[in-house]
């Protein structure tokens, strides 16, 4: 049990009459890339929202590296090392690309010095430059983030996740809306990242999921339908029926499966 990076017990989130996450017991082993798949409305993003503290759970508990983090505020959870990206790209649009990374690196460190010029924090400066190179955004470092091309914005988000030195990274549809080239590029970045940090990824693109995940969790209607290796999930009849669809084997290549 101690090697579970994230564990939930009976995690439940209701929106009015709708049970978005329904008593989910999950354990994510450390050192593996986990994917969560499932039809739209299965509760995947809500699961992330509860884990990252954006929504309060109605019942159940969340343990991160063995510690109970249920009910903590988003910034407290973030400071413990769980970082996430958003399904809809979420950066600081009026700040430059480097400032986006700069404040992300600084935010976790507690005291925000009110009078010392930001430029004098050389350690963070260097980190920002290294991260810019890593994600390949050095050329647009000074550009205002809101004016970036979509693919670059997604890379910036990954850069922001990277520079914050996460212990666990929650990626919510990181390649959604990307061109094939951008997708290939991003998948490589994620694969490289997964050697340093635990990753849980929500993704609709089955090619991507089966390409990078070590373990797959299938959710449907707020509950866990199946878990297993990609091979086992690909062969699971219930999963095929509930999720991969009745269209047949070529559903594996579909971007947006229909629920």
């Amino acid at each position: 049990m101690s090697d579970a990076v994230l564990r939930t017990e009976g995690l439940t989130k209701r929106f009015g009459g709708l049970v978005a996450v329904d008593g989910v017991d999950l354990e994510f082993e450390t050192g593996r890339v986990h994917a969560i798949i499932g039809p739209n409305g299965a509760g995947k993003t809500t699961f992330f929202n509860v884990v990252s503290g954006m929504h309060a759970a109605d019942a159940g508990r969340v343990f991160f590296a063995g510690q109970d983090i249920t009910g903590l505020k988003p910034h407290q959870i973030s400071r413990r090392g769980i970082k996430r990206t958003m399904q809809i790209k979420s950066v600081f649009p009026n700040m430059s690309v480097e400032d986006n990374l700069w404040i992300t690196a600084k935010a976790g460190q507690g005291f925000l010095h009110p009078f010392r010029p930001a430029a004098k924090f050389t350690g963070i400066r260097e980190k920002v430059e290294r991260t810019l190179e890593q994600v390949g955004l050095s050329a647009v470092a000074g550009q205002v983030a809101g004016t970036l091309a979509y693919g670059n914005m997604a890379l910036l988000e990954i850069g922001m996740a990277l520079i914050s030195e996460p212990k666990l990274l929650l990626l919510d549809e990181p390649i959604c809306g990307m061109s094939p080239v951008e997708t290939e590029n991003t998948v490589q970045k994620i694969r490289a990242l997964s050697r340093q940090v635990d990753i849980i990824i929500i993704e609709h693109d089955m090619e991507v999921v089966f390409g990078i995940a070590d373990d797959i969790t299938v959710m449907a209607q707020g509950a866990v339908l199946a878990r297993g290796t990609p091979q086992a999930i690909g062969a699971d009849e219930r999963v095929r029926e509930a999720y991969l669809g009745r269209a047949g084997d070529d559903a594996l290549d579909e971007d947006e499966p229909h629920a």
């Binding site: 990252s52 910034h75 973030s78 009026n94 700040m95 404040i103 976790g108 010029p117 930001a118």
Partner: protein, 325 residues
């Protein structure tokens, strides 16, 4: 000349001009205009306090006059009722504004957008009516008049704000100090954190920023700026009045900040300068000078979202990039 050198020389020229005001302005325009410029300096701090909240944290306050009023009354009550000397009264004004900002901020920054705007107005109205009612202390609408204790005493000689040149430099010093502090904050990690919250508060909390505490810090800092502004205005006018706590005053500061350019350091100063000059120049000739104020405000909001400072920057961009590209 590089762009940086150009902007530096403009700034240096402007600084020299401000320092020379007590000698140049009476020669060409009359000494009345020295006090107009002093007044612009003072009010620009109130606009700066709106700008700190709206331009850097994304919170639109329509109640900054409350902290301006506390700065004013701290000085007025300090001198007239408590018999304080100059500096303790000045300090009392600033400290009361900060304290009030802390108390109301604890509630106000739980809200954002229009809810925040409304609660700031409500707070300022509560204290406006309260201060109108407790006439024995505040003098209500009439306010309290007081005579100024000396600022510095050297043996027999006293230096007071009655000396117009000294008063001008006294005001210039504190206003410059405040803008310099704000400049430092904007360039600091705290400043970047505030801008991150302005841009995207959900993301800001996900990277580990405590948005509530940071908004509160900004709110108290804005209260400090408004408080200094009010305290200076009380010393400048030798009186304190509840009428300056009305939301009308808060609203004016919002217009000044937006027209000058929110999210820019000196925008509030530019905006305040333009509107006070328009008022002083035109109101004596024409009764409807507010019409001009309104037209300027509407045009700026529609066509120049970053205000006059934004227009200026675009112009400078064009000149320098046009030369190269």
């Amino acid at each position: 000349m590089s762009r940086r050198a150009f902007e530096r020389s403009i700034f240096a020229a402007f600084a020299l001009l401000m320092l020379a005001v007590p000698w140049i302005v009476p020669q060409f325009l009359g000494s009345f205009w020295v006090s107009v410029i002093a007044e612009i300096l003072i009010w620009s701090l109130l606009a700066a306090s709106v700008n700190l909240l709206f331009g850097y944290v994304g919170l639109l306050s329509f109640g900054q006059a409350l902290y301006f009023g506390f700065g004013m009354y701290g000085v007025g009550i300090g001198i007239a009722h408590l018999g304080l000397s100059f500096w303790p009264a000045f300090a009392l004004g600033i400290v009361s504004a900060i304290a009030m900002a802390l108390v109301s901020g604890v509630f106000a920054v739980r809200l954002t957008w229009h809810y925040f705007a409304i609660i700031t107005v409500v707070f300022s109205l509560i204290f406006y009516f309260l201060f109108l009612t407790i006439k024995p202390i505040t003098g209500g609408d009439d306010g309290i008049n007081f005579s100024l204790p000396p600022t510095f005493t050297f043996g027999e000689t006293e230096l007071t704000l009655a000396d117009a040149t000294f008063q001008y430099f006294f005001i210039l010093f504190f206003v410059t100090l405040c803008f310099w502090l704000m400049h430092r904050v904007i360039a600091s990690p705290l400043g970047k954190a505030l801008m991150a919250i302005r841009d995207n508060d959900v993301r800001a909390s996900l990277i580990g920023l405590n948005t509530y505490v940071l908004r509160l810090v900004a709110f108290v800092m804005a209260g400090f700026l408004a408080g200094v502004s009010g305290a200076l205005f009380a010393l400048f006018g030798r009186y304190s009045s509840a009428s300056y706590m009305f939301y009308h005053v808060s609203g004016e500061a919002v217009v000044w900040a937006i027209v000058g350019g929110t999210g820019t350091l000196l925008g509030p100063f530019v905006g305040t300068g333009i509107f006070i000059l328009v008022r002083e120049v035109i109101s004596s000739q024409w009764h409807h000078h507010l019409l001009i104020v309104g037209v300027i405000a509407i045009l700026i909001v529609m066509f120049a979202p970053r205000g006059f400072v934004g227009l200026w920057r675009n112009l400078v961009d064009r000149v320098f990039n046009g030369g190269k590209a």
